[in-house]
């Protein structure tokens, strides 16, 4: 009876779908012939697979190097790294020496199907500037759910005892996953300083050549801050892929450097303008920001340092304040 059912099912129910699937199968075969197939065997330690059941998480943090590689403007006031003192947020530019701060790191996961599980997050601090030496603070694990899950994003907190030497410090959070769909978005940096513009405001930071060959550096300055998110389209909560992609492109345009020049009337001077540094050499860079006469308020300026290959070496965000 089971055999008869199998035959009848094949003849009357499966023949149409079968024809469709055979055509699809032939198309798959045609495409597969264009692919390189690695030689395999069980004695190999490493066997690549592409079965759809195998999933890769994509843990990420606001990574300035990744975003700049995408051609986007960045702020070094990292929205995913927060500093707290006694439970209250404090600006990273005004830290007390030998004081315990809570550093809270927010981690996202861009995967729809693979959670991030017990991933180490390494926190370190550096002297304020670009390319300076990193000192480890601690490593802690974090798990992050898939997009749409209740534990997305998730947070991990560190206790950080600031150095006894007064000064500005940067923080780096590095995600260290066992597997990752995109390894380029795992390093977040918090490099900020706040200065009051008596007229003008003057900042300094350290520029260090962390590479193994000499470089000549140059700087760019912009007034980028992360703009408020647009409201999602009111389409009943759903959006097709094509229109979603189009909306994403529009949103990305709001983050292009060309959309965020230094505001009119401002003059920003970086000195020295084109420093040359030997490997390991460090230099103090001075930034002088002169606001227009009569200006009051708060203005962020991002100073990004590039080497002579136009590769981003790092940057700082300087916030100019002036009150009435």
């Amino acid at each position: 009876m089971r055999a008869l059912l199998a035959i009848l099912r094949a003849l009357f129910l499966s023949s149409g779908p079968a024809l469709v699937e055979v055509l699809r199968f032939l198309r798959r075969l045609f495409r597969r012939s264009e692919r390189r197939v690695d030689e395999q065997g069980t004695r190999a330690h490493c066997v690549p697979i592409d079965h759809p059941a195998f999933r890769r998480p994509d843990p990420l943090i606001y990574d300035q190097y990744y975003l700049m590689n995408l051609g986007l403007a960045v702020t070094w006031d990292n929205p995913d790294i927060d500093l707290l003192l006694d439970g209250k947020a404090v600006p990273a530019g005004s830290l007390q020496p030998s004081t315990h701060y809570e550093v809270r790191v927010r981690v996202w996961n861009a995967s729809f199907t693979a959670p991030v599980v017990q991933m180490p997050v390494h926190l370190s601090y550096l002297a304020f500037g670009v390319g300076t030496v990193s000192y480890p603070v601690d490593t802690k694990p974090i798990s992050v759910g898939v997009i749409g899950a209740p534990d997305q994003p998730n947070y991990v907190s560190f206790d950080w005892l600031t150095p006894s030497t007064p000064g500005h410090y940067c923080l780096q959070a590095l995600l260290d996953p066992a597997d990752d769909a995109n390894n380029a978005n795992n390093l977040g940096q918090q490099n900020t300083d706040v200065g009051v513009a008596h007229s003008p405001a003057t900042f300094t930071f350290e520029l260090r050549n962390a590479s193994r060959r000499a470089h000549r550096y140059h700087f760019t300055v912009d007034g980028y801050t992360i703009p408020p998110a647009d409201p999602c389209p009111a389409d009943g909560g759903r959006s097709d892929q094509r229109s979603a992609d189009e909306q994403r492109r529009k949103r990305l345009a709001a983050h292009l450097p060309s959309a965020h020049p230094v505001p009119a009337g401002w003059h920003v001077d970086v000195s020295p303008e084109l420093p040359e540094l030997a490997p390991g050499e460090q230099l103090t860079i001075t930034v002088t920001a002169t606001p227009p006469d009569g200006w009051t308020g708060q203005q962020s300026l991002n100073v990004n340092a590039f080497d002579d290959r136009d590769e981003l070496s790092g940057g700082v965000t300087l916030t100019v304040l002036r009150e009435h």
Binding site: H45, A53, R55, A178
Partner: protein, 349 residues
């Protein structure tokens, strides 16, 4: 893929498991159909019709075998919910290691050592281990029907060490493909037989029979290439231990918990529980010679993460516009209309 996620197979109840060799069983059931077909053809007195009937019978043999493979070989265990485990990859069984006709089984298999088990542990020790030993131990569902249970021991090929392991299979599509092609071949063969018996359109009948024969002949060759494992560079790879006994991946695997009755009556003479098909798998860490100190946290967070990813609430949220970001939610994301404009998810600055 079938109705079940990443599955071509279905699982059945233990009373549906055949009680003798699958090849013999398939041949016996095919024989009934074949006797009728060939009998009709002999009555017609045309040798060509007899050949067409024989061809149809051979195709039916394939279809019945595929039907057994896909629908009557695996016994459902548990309550039918997917099971999520964490384990260390002892060894890998890619379909490329199999020779024809075994290569028609294009499933890609891993053998996992499960937490709190170690190389050299006895089968009973592993079966009694927490939290996953019961998945490998004989289950009352199959024991009550007297189905053969041998367990599944796996050997690390670099160190030669062995351990009772949970077998997990990522399904390839070759048997499904074989069934599809032979379904069409059967239609062509029966049409050819009908035309032959009617005595009209004999040329068309020969063409149809030739097509059916070619499909029958080459389907196994083509379908066995539809495996689960070949890949391009850049995709995740699964590693086993090196000679020092380190380096294997610790993976999370979610799948349907079944008993595999596919080899209880053939020369392999083995029966064991497994996850089949694997519906989700991911790399969670690397084996350094022992289980990580936080293995309990890894298990808990993997199981929670998978459960959350499959919840209707999460899947509903995933389809919403605010979940369509790809770079970073603050860069290419949007805020829900009911959120205030300044809200960027709980930012404490």
């Amino acid at each position: 893929m079938g109705a079940d996620e990443n599955a071509w197979t279905t699982c059945t109840t233990p009373d549906n498991v055949i009680s003798f060799n699958q090849y013999l069983s398939t041949s016996l059931t095919t024989g009934v159909f074949g006797a009728i077909m060939v009998g009709i053809a002999i009555a017609a007195g045309d040798p060509l019709c007899i050949a067409f009937a024989a061809l149809a019978t051979a195709i039916v043999w394939i279809l019945i075998y595929c039907d057994w493979w896909l629908n009557w070989r695996l016994v459902c265990l548990g309550d039918g919910s997917p099971v999520s485990v964490v384990g260390m990859v002892i060894n890998i069984e890619p379909p490329s290691d199999k020779s024809w006709p075994n290569s028609l089984d294009s499933d890609y298999s891993l053998n996992l050592m499960l937490p709190n088990s170690h190389f050299g542990d006895s089968q009973a020790t592993v079966w009694g281990s927490a939290p996953f030993g019961h998945l490998m131990a004989e289950n009352p569902t199959t024991a009550s029907h007297g189905l053969l249970f041998t367990g599944n021991e796996a050997t690390d090929k670099q160190t030669g060490k062995s351990c009772e392991a949970l077998h997990v299979e990522l399904e390839g599509a070759s048997i499904h493909d074989l069934q599809l092609v032979n379904t069409l071949a059967l239609i062509a063969a029966l049409a050819a037989l009908a035309l032959c018996l009617s005595g009209i359109g004999i040329v068309v009948a020969i063409i149809l029979a030739a097509l059916a024969f070619l499909a029958f002949l080459f389907s196994s060759i083509f379908s066995s290439s539809d495996t689960a494992d070949p890949s391009d560079a850049g995709l995740p790879s699964v590693e086993t231990n090196d000679a020092s006994g380190k380096g294997a991946h610790i993976v999370g695997v979610t799948g349907r918990w079944v008993y595999d009755a596919g080899h209880i009556h053939d020369s392999y003479h083995e029966g064991h529980n497994e996850l089949h098909p694997v519906q989700q798998a991911q790399i969670l860490g690397t084996w350094d010679g022992d289980w990580p100190l936080n293995i309990d946290d890894i298990i808990r967070d993997y199981q929670t993460g998978i459960a959350n990813s499959r919840s209707p609430l999460t899947q509903d949220r995933q389809s919403r516009p605010e979940s369509q970001w790809k770079i970073h939610p603050l860069i290419d994301g949007c805020r829900r209309a009911d959120e205030p404009p300044s809200d960027t998810p709980p930012d404490i600055k």
